[in-house]
Subunit: 201 residues, 2 copies
DNA sequence: TCGTCCAGCTTACTCAGAGTAGGTTACTAC
DNA sequence: GTAGTAACCTACTCTGAGTAAGCTGGACGA
């Protein structure tokens, strides 16, 4: 075991450690129920250090969210490079997303919960993450779709993000649904539309 | 003005009044930033009364959420009765929803924010509201669609709810988009699918 | 070898706001 | 009237965010 007094480590390293612990505690207990004292104790440091580095409880949350967002961006962007067409790009992006939420549950849970921080920086931060994904999709669409109507295209992008977010939460309740299956479900509705499944009577 | 000491009113009426004020304060300040003292003061009553009737801050929030949900259920269910077919029912339901979020902003803002109360009753309550809408859609679909695959149908319903929720939030930023236009955008993607809009190249 | 500097760290507080104990008043029924 | 109780209050406790002020160990120049 790495016993001994784990003391005096450089700021950058300590920050990484704090974020790691905070992500765990926030996603386990929820933001409101998590206490700075507990996080400090788990890190093995006193509370004022957290405030020294992150200014506030919300600042610490912000750092966690930003980190999760960076990872999400990385994986989804990487996934779509080299896609043959719109359908392929969409499918690859969706798959990357559904894999992310399965493999990095804590990060995802930070991103999905709105935080009761309406109007505060943290809420904006979560919203910013969605905007990131929306922009990605909007960009993708503008490359492959006729966009005589920008507003409509924007709405469609929002629509896709919201739908996938909800489907992702649904997946949490359904262990048996693999990321691949989830992607197929999403593509089914998104690409073909519900009309294709309507009973002809 | 209804001056004078507005005192001693029956419990039911006082509760309604409290919920009304609380809905305002919660949606204006956000759950965390709202204080029970302020709500009590605005109601014109002392704090222990709030606790007498709702047990806790979260209990008060719960009451607000339940009320909003009841209204949402009412309007969307009413909207879909007498629809000719699946497409019509979907369109009517969507329109009712988009009208609701425009006309009852405070109620909607309570329902959309996740509250940082993971695992607590309030979070379940918001989730319950989505389930209500999901069930509505699932029921609608099972009436009009071939459902050889229940899981797929359930996923599709979640998908629709998530997509509309996000589109609704997007509408908050776009005053110029009417509920009718929002409904059209939603139907466009949902019913016809993105394939219909893909550039043929 | 010794100062001195400062990043990393601490103890010991304040303060706001959730929640409560226990008492007071005004209506209602007889 | 007066007994009973629903509606209401004052005056607390206690938890947890945030802060003031000071301690310490090691790098680095003289």
């Amino acid at each position: 075991m790495t016993t001994a007094k784990r003391k005096r480590m450089p700021r950058a390293e300590r920050e990484r450690q704090m974020i790691e612990v905070a992500e765990q505690v926030f996603s386990a207990r929820g933001y409101a129920a998590a206490s700075m004292d507990e996080i400090a104790e788990l890190v093995g440091v006193s509370k004022p250090m957290l405030y020294e580095y992150f200014n506030s409880k919300e600042g610490l949350l912000l750092a966690c969210i930003r980190q999760s967002r960076a990872v999400l961006r990385e994986v989804t962007e990487q996934a779509t490079v080299g896609a043959a067409d719109a359908e392929d790009a969409l499918r690859r992006g969706l798959l990357a997303f559904f894999v992310f939420i399965r493999e990095r549950r804590q990060a995802w849970s930070l991103l999905r919960h709105e935080m009761a921080l309406i109007g505060t920086p943290a809420a904006d931060e979560v919203e910013e993450t969605r905007r990131q994904q929306t922009d990605l999709i909007a960009a993708l669409m503008s490359g492959h779709f006729d966009s005589e109507d920008d507003l409509r295209a924007e709405a469609a992008a929002e629509f896709v993000v919201g739908a996938c977010e909800r489907l992702a939460i649904w997946c949490e309740r359904h262990e048996e649904v693999s990321p691949e299956t989830a992607t197929e479900y999403a593509m089914d509705v998104l690409w073909s539309g519900l009309r294709a499944r309507a009973r002809t009577h």
